[in-house]
């Protein structure tokens, strides 16, 4: 076993026993970190590996969340089944977007704008979709939080902690597997030079579709988790473009295209943002918007001074540079 695997396993072991030492607030912070690590990982498959910039990933979070929540609330379908439907819905949505874009040769800026357009279109659509509450929001039944009802995903934050951890680990493993395999090489070939990849015989259309579909399917799980963790859904919130931006922050700050970047980025961002919250609270300046300003500055500064993110530099210093993570960073 090489060093990076040992370090990762050690980290995982710590995270597995961590809930014993955490209060509810810190538990919520950790869940947030895992959540953003996972969606960041999902987005990274599309942008970091395959070079297709999506600024509409809130679409898949929202579709996944609404699908599983509506099935549960209206038909009593357990979330583990609803999840599969949610994945199917998201993959279909991604296939439509991908097919339209790639079939007609839309790339770069135009593709990013297309993803925004679809997300916004869906947001306004859901605001008028009364079956799931429209603008008024959609609410799941909340039960007492001391139970562990894993089947219906109702219960104590500790359960959600382990679910979120499982998501983050799962996302990491899927990404690692993708990077190592043939698919990952095709993705990166397309990202680095689409024409050259085509000339080398890669079916560019097919693999770009795979990238978009895999990314959407992963994001669907995040959506289901979101729905059952927060219990309320508002189109204005879940589909909003600021959600999509939130999703892409962690991998950008951590390191686009790296394996550990989204995880590190999620941890840094969440801790910084909670720290800012706490500081603002202590200072008594709880003005809405201040936190977003600091976010904006962080985003701008990181893209300006660290275009490859934080992780590649750290990885080099820690001696992980020959590991798979930053092979292409």
């Amino acid at each position: 076993m090489n060093r990076s695997v040992v370090c990762l396993l050690a980290l995982l072991a710590v995270l597995l026993v961590l809930p014993l030492a955490l209060d509810r607030y810190l538990l919520a912070v950790m869940i947030l970190i895992f959540y953003f690590a996972f969606v960041g990982q999902a987005w990274n498959v599309m942008m970091g590996f395959c070079g297709q910039l999506s600024i509409g990933h809130a679409l898949y979070v929202g579709l996944g969340a609404y699908t599983a929540a509506a099935l549960y609330q209206h038909f009593g379908v357990i979330p583990w089944v609803g999840m599969l439907v949610a994945v199917a819905v998201c993959v279909i949505a991604a296939s439509i977007i991908g097919w339209l874009a790639f079939r007609f040769g839309i790339g770069g800026t135009y593709f990013a704008l297309l993803t925004i357009a679809f997300a916004e279109f869906t947001r306004i659509g859901f605001e008028h979709f009364d079956w799931v509450g429209g603008t008024g929001g959609f609410f799941l039944k909340v039960v007492q939080q001391d139970r562990f009802d894993l089947l219906n995903l109702r219960g104590h934050p500790v359960m959600f902690y382990y679910l979120a951890l499982a998501l983050a680990v799962g996302g990491f493993l899927v990404s690692a597997w993708l990077l190592r395999g043939r698919l990952g090489y095709y993705f990166r070939a397309i990202r680095d030079n689409e024409e050259a990849a085509r000339a080398a015989g890669v079916n560019v259309f097919r693999y770009k579709m795979y990238a978009v579909q895999i990314s959407a399917a992963m994001t669907a799980f995040a959506g289901v988790f979101f729905a059952f963790y927060y219990n309320n859904l508002f189109p204005e919130q879940i589909f909003h473009i600021s959600r999509s931006i939130e999703i892409i922050m962690a991998p950008i700050i951590g390191g686009i295209g790296t394996l550990f970047g989204p995880v590190l980025g999620a941890a840094v961002l969440t801790l910084v943002s909670e720290g800012i919250n706490a500081a603002l609270e202590v200072g008594g300046h709880e003005i809405p918007g201040v936190k977003q300003i600091l976010y904006g500055i962080a985003l701008g500064a990181s893209i300006m001074f660290m275009p490859h993110g934080i992780w590649p530099g750290i990885a080099r210093r820690l001696g992980f540079e020959r590991s798979q993570d930053d092979e292409d960073a």
Partner: protein, 288 residues
């Protein structure tokens, strides 16, 4: 539905559309020359709207009087933005440029939120309720003035690019960057001038728009998206396309408000954009 009502709604959509067109024109000019998608466009517009609201609330100044100073100020903002922030990003990957301007947008919209709060503000000029009666049409005076100012501004911009030497130099950069550099044009300066001109357009558009609708910080992102919808429908980088796209969206918004509910009008715009992106990605008003 009486024909009069429909005509009135189409006319008002058309006039608002001209202001939209001016806003989108700014975005299109910047993209056409600098090849940067200004993701902070709507936020700059919202800033101009707040400037107008502020001047009105503070000193009772008609927004029309501050058009010129605002345009000059915004020209300066745009020039500086390009010189300081955007210029180092030319040649960097598209996603990096995108994210840089997203960060700028995020900062602007939240500074507005902190400074002015989330409440809606408006400008009520004394002639706000006046209107012109032309045959069966009843046209708001404010809207007509705004449309006229927008048209004049567009005409000035077209004239700059057509007749002034620095306008021609900017077009040279857009047509052939290498050639422009070879003949010794100061590309950095010209890019910044272009960004300034685009920003001045959006400044004027924002000032006009403040008379037509209530102003909230949330308008920033909404107008960024709207400007994108318009320029994509018209063709990114095309000046006439931006204007025509603005009118088209203005009319389609008001008609959609009539046919469905006003809150669903954005859906029609986005659907139009998706259709255009898929079937005519170069835009409706532009040759391939």
């Amino acid at each position: 539905m009486p024909l009069d009502a429909v005509l009135n709604i189409v006319a008002s959509g058309l006039l608002t559309g001209l202001v939209y067109g001016l806003m989108a024109l700014g975005l299109s000019v910047i993209y056409g020359v600098v090849r940067i998608v200004n993701f902070a466009h709507g936020e700059l517009m919202a800033t101009a709207m707040y400037a107008a609201v502020f001047a009105f609330a503070l000193a009772d100044i008609d927004p029309l009087w501050i058009l010129a100073p605002l345009a000059i100020g915004f020209f300066g903002i745009g020039y500086g933005l390009q010189r300081v922030l955007v210029n180092p990003f030319i040649g960097r990957p598209e996603h990096a440029q995108f994210i840089l301007l997203l960060a700028v947008a995020l900062i602007i919209v939240n500074v507005l939120l902190v400074a002015f709060g989330p409440d809606a503000r408006s400008v009520q000029v004394p002639y706000a309720l006046d209107s012109y009666e032309i045959g069966p049409l009843l046209i708001d005076k404010v809207r007509a003035i705004c449309a006229a100012v927008a048209l004049v501004t567009c005409a000035i911009l077209f004239a700059i690019f057509r007749y002034l030497s620095f306008g021609k130099a900017i077009r040279a950069c857009a047509d052939n960057l290498l050639g422009a550099q070879v003949v010794g044009l100061n590309v950095k300066h010209l890019y910044a001038l272009t960004f300034g001109l685009g920003t001045a357009c959006v400044g004027i558009a924002g000032c006009l728009m403040s008379m037509l609708i209530d102003v909230t910080p949330g308008l920033g992102p909404a107008y960024t998206l709207l400007a994108f919808v318009i320029v994509i429908i018209g063709g990114l980088g095309s000046m006439t396309g931006a204007l025509a796209g603005g009118v088209l969206i203005g009319v389609s918004e008001s008609v959609a408000g009539l046919l469905f509910t006003p809150s669903a009008k954005g859906m029609v715009s986005f659907a139009l954009m998706i259709l255009v992106l898929v079937f005519r990605p170069q835009g409706l008003f532009r040759a391939r």
